[in-house]
């Protein structure tokens, strides 16, 4: 079995709780240090006793007890630059198929058969609750089966 591992107990814990001032900016408040809470003492003792039972591949106790800083984050995700190529049904695709994912997902698919596309559309509607107008489904399948999937 693996070596008996030393548990880092009672390590000083530093957490930075930051307020997200605005999207795209990260603002860190001054760090605050907390001792190990009293309610954890018995648990830590139990964990220490438990440690020796871990297998050889188990994660190892970290050797140093340095505090780790975590900072709140806020960002904006980029938006899609691709659109469905022109063709009969393009408008139906735009109105039905972009709530859950961007067009690139479809444009990167291999050229599936009409039956396979019908299966995919059915799965999106029935399994993933895609807000697709049932009357539009034939036009969607036709469009998918007809588009030249451009690189």
């Amino acid at each position: 079995m693996g070596s008996i591992l030393k548990v880092v107990a009672g390590a000083a814990v530093v957490v930075v709780v930051a307020v997200v001032a605005s999207i795209g900016h990260r603002v860190a408040a001054p760090p605050a240090t907390y001792p190990t809470p009293p309610y954890m003492q018995s648990l830590l003792a139990k964990i220490a006793a438990d440690e020796a039972k871990a297998g050889p591949n188990a994660p190892k106790a970290v050797a140093d007890s340095a505090g780790i800083l975590l900072r709140s984050v806020g960002f904006a995700f980029p938006t899609e630059g691709r659109a469905f190529p022109p063709g009969p049904g393009q408008d139906v695709m735009a109105s039905n198929c972009m709530s859950c994912h961007t067009p690139g997902m479809i444009l990167n698919q291999p050229a599936l058969t009409r039956a396979e596309w019908a299966g995919e559309v059915s799965k999106m509607v029935k399994v993933y609750h895609a807000p697709v107008d049932e009357a539009d489904i034939p036009a969607i399948v036709t469009y998918l089966a007809s588009i030249k999937v451009a690189p």
Binding site: A11, K60, I68, V73, R82, T102, M105, P110, H129, P151
Partner: protein, 406 residues
Amino acid sequence: MHDGMALGRRGLIGGAAALGGILAAAGARADTVTLGLNGGPEQRSLTSAFPQKGSMILQRTRPPLLETPFEVFDQGVFTPNDRFFVRWHWAVIPEQVDLATFRCTVRGHVNQPQSLTMTDILALPRVELAAVNQCSGNSRGLFAPRIAGGQWQNGAMGNAKWVGVRLRDVLDRAGVKPGAVAVRFNGLDEPVVAGAPDFMKSLAIDHARDREVMLAYQMNGEQLPLLNGFPMRLIVPGWYSTYWVKMVSDIEVLDAPDDSFWMKSAYLIPATPHADVKPGQTGFPTEPINRMVPRSFFTNVTAATKVKPGATVPLRGIAMGGDCGVAAVDVSIDGGATWQPAVLGRDEGAYSFRQWTAQLTAPTSGTLVALVRCTNTKQVAQPMEANWNGGGFMRNMVERVALQVG
């Protein structure tokens, strides 16, 4: 309204600048990559528009699917955080996470339900593990016949040094009641459409308490990028990434098997050797995808690499054992009739990538076709033949590269 229109809510200037790669025309430009997917489309944009991410292969903008360009794997066994692959199921992903309000609940079949801050988590004993995180559908784009889904080449994987706490210790804070059978994990992401199945995964109780499964808040020495699951994600060593729930905010101990969608109906594989069936085959038993299998790759050569006649060709790559360590990596230049051992690099742990090196001698003309095969410590070797299943899961055949001599 929809962000499929070329310019979305970021507006003209920021959007156009950030999305230069996306808007680029296809062609042999530096901001596109060709993935070698049989039947295409195989061109993808490279994008650096995502927060905390460097240049990534854009598989899907929303919800993000970002693949690691394969040359990154030649730079070392640990994948830099800003190049680590990204995969989300649902498009409602928080763009900000405030640690002042973030809580992770531990509830269900427990004695004392918990609502934990990251301060609480950081106070638990800290452990570290190197482990490969690989998408179940990594390499799906290489399946033949092709399958709908994320059209990954081989870069939906990465290796990191994870620091965090044992899941067992978190569960013990709540006190698991006798009779518990599974633990289910949910993150901050949500479906776009009401009633759609929220993304949740579960582990059997013994697995969840096995002293290996972790909740990680650090990755390669830094906090996790938001898109890789900040403030913490589940680490399930040796298992596919679908279980590595990101932004974990709810841990529910169950007293009955988890019959929710993502365990019962999705991510199922044929319960057959190599999860392999014939296209169109039906009637086989299925099971939830689980342990990873061995893989190995060339990282310093591609089909575009030219070698001199008779030259000594240094080869380099990475290997993974899957659910255990790497025992051996072997290379072959005669189609697998004979193999010669590669030299293994430093052992970073059973679940880590391991670098390998080998030297081959080029023939005097034609091509040098090299194969690489990993055998893990359970004596499971990569198969020569590709597997196939309807999910495009668990590809792990022996990799092959043909180098041009001349």
